[in-house]
C-alpha cells in the first residue's frame, strides 16, 4: 500500500513538472504598434517605409509642416518599434542619428520617458509624430492614427 502511494506521489510530481501551465482559454491578441500624430498632421495615412524614412531623417517636411518625430525611452516599445519598422538595433539607431546630425544637421527625434509624455507632446506640437501601443491609443482622444503595425 505504501509502495502504491509512493508511486502515485511520484507520478503526480512528474506530471506537475512536465505538464507546465494550463493552456489559455483563447490566444492572446498580437501586440500592435500604432503610429500617431497631432490632429493637424497634414496626411491621414503613412506606409511603414514612409515612417522609416521619417525616423531615418530623410523625410523631414510634410506639406509645409516640419515633421517632429518622437521616440520613447521605454525599452519594450522602443525595441519593438526599431526592430519592426526600422530594422535597426537601438545602438545602430543612435549611431545613425549621431552621424546624420554631424553630416547634415537637422532635428533629431525627441526622446520622451512615458506614453503620457508622448501624448502630451503630440497634442501640443504641430507636425509631431510618435508611436504607442494600440491599447494606449484607444484611451486617447485628439490624436490622428496614421498606421497600425503588428509587432514582429
Amino acid at each position: 500500500m505504501t509502495q502504491r502511494r509512493l508511486c502515485l506521489l511520484m507520478a503526480g510530481l512528474l506530471w506537475c513538472v512536465t505538464a507546465g501551465p494550463a493552456p489559455p482559454l483563447m490566444a492572446a491578441p498580437a501586440e500592435r504598434i500604432v503610429i500617431v500624430a497631432n490632429q493637424l498632421y497634414p496626411v491621414s495615412t503613412l506606409t511603414k517605409e514612409e515612417v522609416r524614412e521619417i525616423y531615418l531623417g530623410r523625410r523631414t517636411i510634410e506639406q509645409f509642416f516640419r515633421i517632429r518625430p518622437i521616440d520613447q525611452s521605454d525599452p519594450a516599445i522602443r525595441t519593438a518599434f526599431l526592430r519592426t519598422v526600422m530594422d535597426l538595433s537601438k545602438e545602430g539607431y543612435i549611431d545613425h542619428w549621431n552621424r546624420l546630425l554631424f553630416q547634415q544637421g537637422g532635428l533629431p527625434p525627441l526622446l520622451k520617458d512615458s506614453p503620457d509624455d508622448v501624448v502630451k507632446e503630440l497634442l501640443k506640437t504641430d507636425g509631431s509624430i510618435g508611436y504607442l501601443w494600440e491599447e494606449e491609443v484607444q484611451q486617447q482622444h485628439g490624436l490622428k492614427v496614421l498606421l497600425v503595425i503588428p509587432v514582429r
Binding site: 524614412e53 517636411i61 535597426l88 538595433s89 545602438e91 553630416q103 544637421g105 537637422g106
Partner: protein, 393 residues
C-alpha cells in the same frame, strides 16, 4: 603650440589671413541666424579628436615621419561641430577644425563647413556656405570625424586640399538638393555651384596645392558639381550613385605669383556602398578629364582613381578591414604635374577595436607603390605602419 616643420608636409599657409577671411564670411551668417526667431534651445557642441603614431618609409608619404624613418606621433585635428534648427525650416551647421598648420606648425582654426539651410520640401533643400563637395560617398559621410570612419585615414585620392589632395574636396557657394521617392527607390540628388579652386605654389619643391578659394574667386567661371544616388526603400543602408564636377583651374607660380597654367577640368565619378551594423562595403571611382588651355599644345589628359574597402564587425567590437587604392596619372597632365601627383598603388590591412561607441583603437599596415618615372622623388615602394586612438565627445 609650436611644432617643428616637417619636410614631407606641404605648404598651405595664410593662417592669420585665413582666420580673418573666415570671420568675414562667418559674420553675415551669424547675423542672419541671430535675426531668426529661435525656439530657445541651447547649442550643443560636439567633436572628434585623435592621436596617431606613424612610421613610414614610403616615398611621397604625407604623414609626419615619412622621411626620417623613426616614426612620429601626430596630434590629429580637434574637430568641433554644432548643429541647430533655428526655425521650422532653417537649420545651421558649423564644423570647425583646430589643427597644426603643416607649413607653419602654428595652431590654426579652420572653418571646414558652415552652412545655413532652408528646407522647403523633402525634395528641395537650399543651402549656402562652405560644404564638402558632393563627390562620392566618403566625402559627404565622414567629413573630418576620424572616429566614425573605420580606417585611420581617408583614401589618398580624397585627401584634403591642404594635405596634398587633388580633388576639390571643399566648395564655397550654393547647394540645392533633396530626396525624391521614385517607386521602390529613394533618389537623393544634389547640385552645387561655387568658387572654383586654384593652384598655388606651382614649381615649389613639394608641388603646388589646391586652394578652394574660400574668400574670393580668381576667375569668373564657377565650379558646378552634381550627384544622383539611388537608395532602395527596402535596403536603406545601400546606395549607388554618380557624381561630377566641372571647373576651370588656374595655377600660380610659387615665387612670382604669376599665372602659369589654365586647365579646364571635368570630373566624373561613381560610388556604391552597403553599410550595415556589421558589414561595410565601399567603392568609389573618379575620372579626371583635364584640358590644357594655357600652352599651345592644348592637350587632353585622362586620370583615373578608385578605391574599394571592406570591413566586418565581430561582436560589435572587433573590426578587421582591408582597402585597395589606385591612382593612374596621365603623363604630362599640367594639373597633376602642378600638384606633384604620381601613379600610386596602396594596399591597407587594418584592425580596429571599439573601446566604446565613442572611442576606438586602430592599427594599420600600408603597402605603397609609386611607379613614377625614375628621377622623380616620389618614385619607389615602401611601407607604413600606423596606430591611432580616436574618439568622439
Amino acid at each position: 603650440m609650436r611644432i617643428t616643420p616637417l619636410p614631407s608636409q606641404r605648404k598651405t599657409g595664410h593662417g592669420g589671413r585665413r582666420l580673418c577671411g573666415w570671420l568675414a564670411l562667418l559674420a553675415p551668417l551669424a547675423i542672419t541666424a541671430l535675426l531668426i526667431p529661435s525656439p530657445g534651445e541651447a547649442f550643443e557642441l560636439r567633436g572628434f579628436g585623435d592621436v596617431t603614431f606613424t612610421k613610414s618609409d614610403a616615398p611621397g608619404s604625407d604623414v609626419p615621419g615619412a622621411t626620417d624613418h623613426h616614426g612620429s606621433f601626430t596630434l590629429g585635428q580637434v574637430d568641433l561641430y554644432i548643429t541647430q534648427p533655428v526655425s521650422d525650416h532653417i537649420d545651421l551647421l558649423a564644423e570647425l577644425s583646430i589643427e597644426s598648420d603643416p607649413s607653419t606648425s602654428e595652431t590654426t582654426i579652420d572653418v571646414e563647413r558652415l552652412q545655413i539651410s532652408y528646407q522647403a520640401k523633402n525634395w528641395l533643400v537650399v543651402r549656402a556656405g562652405r560644404f564638402h563637395n558632393i563627390l562620392g560617398y566618403w566625402n559627404i559621410t565622414f567629413h573630418h570625424g576620424r572616429q566614425i570612419q573605420t580606417t585611420i585615414d581617408r583614401p589618398r585620392m580624397l585627401a584634403f586640399e591642404d594635405r596634398g589632395g587633388f580633388l576639390p574636396i571643399h566648395l564655397v557657394g550654393l547647394w540645392v538638393g533633396g530626396y525624391v521617392p521614385a517607386g521602390p527607390m529613394l533618389l537623393d540628388y544634389g547640385v552645387m555651384a561655387g568658387n572654383g579652386p586654384k593652384i598655388t605654389g606651382v614649381n615649389s619643391p613639394l608641388g603646388g596645392s589646391l586652394d578652394p578659394n574660400n574668400i574670393s574667386d580668381n576667375s569668373g567661371n564657377k565650379a558646378v558639381s552634381f550627384e544622383l544616388t539611388l537608395h532602395p526603400m527596402a535596403l536603406h543602408n545601400a546606395g549607388v550613385g554618380i557624381c561630377g564636377n566641372f571647373s576651370r583651374i588656374e595655377g600660380f607660380d610659387n615665387t612670382t605669383g604669376h599665372q602659369v597654367a589654365n586647365v579646364n577640368q571635368q570630373i566624373l565619378c561613381g560610388e556604391a556602398h552597403y553599410v550595415t551594423e556589421s558589414l561595410e562595403l565601399l567603392a568609389e571611382y573618379y575620372a579626371l578629364f583635364d584640358q590644357d588651355k594655357w600652352t599651345t599644345k592644348l592637350g587632353h589628359f585622362i586620370n583615373h582613381s578608385w578605391y574599394a574597402q571592406a570591413a566586418y564587425t565581430f561582436a560589435g567590437r572587433y573590426v578587421p578591414y582591408v582597402r585597395y587604392e589606385h591612382t593612374s596619372v596621365d603623363e604630362g597632365d599640367p594639373y597633376m604635374t602642378m600638384l606633384n601627383i604620381v601613379d600610386t598603388f596602396r594596399t591597407i590591412l587594418g584592425f580596429r577595436y571599439n573601446l566604446s561607441a565613442a572611442s576606438s583603437l586602430k592599427a594599420e599596415a600600408r603597402f605603397v607603390s609609386n611607379p613614377a618615372p625614375s628621377g622623380n622623388a616620389l618614385a619607389g615602394n615602401g611601407h607604413e605602419f600606423a596606430v591611432q586612438w580616436s574618439f568622439w565627445f
